[in-house]
């Protein structure tokens, strides 16, 4: 195996890891009990999944075609900044409109 093929394989494995994480977080969205715990799964794991995938694609294009894609870098930065913001906004909206918490939740305030 040449050096290029090894780098390609690493990129492909990163994409595969990202897709497995995406499936796990989608399963979490179905199986967890209420909105707040679901948003834990929706913001954290799926953000890491898409970041891993985009980084893998970036490395792939870099090694095969020597092409540094500015658009992919911009997309990675944009996702970094917006994923936590979107999660917080939707949680706050749910809390302010009094979506009910799961029964055994402790609420101390």
């Amino acid at each position: 195996m040449t050096e290029n093929e090894i780098v390609e394989l690493i990129a492909a494995l990163m994409v595969l890891l990202g897709s497995i994480m995406a499936i796990i977080s989608a399963y979490g969205i179905v199986s967890l009990p209420d909105v707040y715990t679901r948003s834990h799964a929706g913001t954290k794991s799926s953000t890491l999944a898409v970041l891993l995938t985009l980084t893998g694609v970036f490395i792939f294009f870099w090694s095969t075609e020597h092409y540094i894609s500015i658009r992919l870098v911009l997309g990675i930065v944009f996702l970094y900044l917006t994923a936590p913001v979107a999660g917080h906004l939707i949680c706050r909206a749910a809390y302010n409109s009094e979506v009910k918490l799961e029964d055994k939740t402790e609420n101390e305030q």
């Binding site: 994480m21 977080s25 707040y36 913001t43 794991s45 970094y80 949680c91 939740t105 101390e108």
Partner: protein, 161 residues
Amino acid sequence: MPVQFLLNLLIAILWVFLKDEDTFEVPTFVAGFLIGIVIIFLMHRFFGTPFYLKRAFSMLKLLWIFNYELMTSSILIMKQILIPSATFEPGIFSYETKLKSDWEVTALALLLMLTPGSVVLRISPEGNVFYIHAMDVKDTKPMVLKSIQLYEKVILEVTRP
């Protein structure tokens, strides 16, 4: 602090001139800039102000913490999804921060969204009380409080050096 940056730039340009190449070469300029950084770092106590790259360094530290927390928190969440423990209790607790300006509070809220097992539900109108939803209160609350202390320290290093 701008004085230090300008001096660094001057050293880099001088380095390009003293190399006496035919055309302007970017690698030479970068090498001059790096040498300038070393010189300014050795001399910065004579300026009376802190070293100007200290702030950039703590920004890098903040970025590293951001990545590290993203990794650990998603591993924790995936463990929770795949092996659901029967005893986990979600809960809400509040935390009062000592950070003041808008920028600092925003950065702390973004970091808290990515800490293992915590989501910021709401911030009080004065901007100093966070209401945090935790996945498993008994387990994660001490851990979250410990990492909040670390974030506050690093954020303060960036904004008020």
